[in-house]
Symmetry: C2
Subunit: 245 residues, 2 copies
Amino acid sequence: MSLELYYWDGLQGRGEFVRLALEEAGADYVEVARGDEDDGLGTGAMMALLDSDDEAHPPFAPPFLKDGDLIVAQTANILFYLGPKLGLAPRDEGLRYVANGLQLTVADVVTEAHDTHHPIASGLYYEDQKAAAKQRSADFLDHRVPKFMTYFEKVIRQNPAGSRYMVGDALSYVDLSMFQLIDGLFYAFPRAMKKFGQHYPLLAALHDAVIERPNIAAYLDSDRRLAHNESCIFRHYPELDQDAR
Amino acid sequence: MSLELYYWDGLQGRGEFVRLALEEAGADYVEVARGDEDDGLGTGAMMALLDSDDEAHPPFAPPFLKDGDLIVAQTANILFYLGPKLGLAPRDEGLRYVANGLQLTVADVVTEAHDTHHPIASGLYYEDQKAAAKQRSADFLDHRVPKFMTYFEKVIRQNPAGSRYMVGDALSYVDLSMFQLIDGLFYAFPRAMKKFGQHYPLLAALHDAVIERPNIAAYLDSDRRLAHNESCIFRHYPELDQDAR
């Protein structure tokens, strides 16, 4: 049976971190919310599962993955579960926890990137929290991005298996997620990201290497890869961007 | 060799979620940052590891756990790693992913609880972001806490193994974390939390049952359990609290 990925239609969002792993591995998966109602798919099918009052282990929110009867929720958890099955996790068990720790740190940056445009309330419009968003974005770009990226560059530099990958001696889902994080930041903050490659050469090289992988290149070129947009985590609001340091 | 827990001294923080599991299990562990410099412990030893430029797998931030040579970072990851070793994870492998998904959702609430007093920048003082904090707290209490708690109450209600635990038919680290989350919210927002037991009876019963467990009761009564305070995630600023609905 195919894996079923549940995520909102119309945006990359957190679902994209899972999609990149599925696509790199050439996995057979169904994108439930993007499917046809006549096939029992679509956003309605996703909402029915979220709202179910007899599901044994209901998820809080998309993305979640259904593999047979098992529902796995939360992006990093889905990747921890899928990684070994897709050949995208370290073989060493200890390193799998290292990978998960890195993935959760990527997730922290993603949450902070979201909060640049929604610092006060995720339920309010951006337009209703613009002043706070400007302040939070400046802090994010001045302090948080450098702090996280300096750390990730150090991780790849100190990787005892070589500096091509975040963890271990082969591509893992963490590398794909790092690509997506950098890609999202380039979209949202093109000015601030201008010197990224200069400051973080190993991360920039990793980003570029991921793009060139045949399955990823084909995916990015397909209509399954939605464009970045302003319904998503990484939003390009020029007024929140600033010059690179 | 003992497990080594690394976390900032002087506050419960995210380390407390790990501590509760270690204490419930009666595990042998060293609280590194609270130890003596003469024993090679203390905050300096923690910082040396964080700043090391040759550590194979450096963590981004505390809490992290050292088990022999392996460093496991990020709260939920530490618990996922420790859970089975401490007898505090479901025996069923699929349910372990359910537990991790729940733990990550608890972590999301913890991050949002932190952001009630630091909505603009974690590096600025609360006093410099008070107006935004008031807005974010109101949204957190009006919308986010009810949304998360309604979900968690549903999880425990729909648990096919019975409604005493969040997942499976025995206590897991998720239950301990749920206790800590509720306890923290009671400290930070005593007025807003006044009707908690009325709205979420199963969660309230879980909270009370955890307190009564002998190892947890002994721990809460010991000087290892630091008091809640305003250096922590859950801070009691009366001006951010509001009447219960």
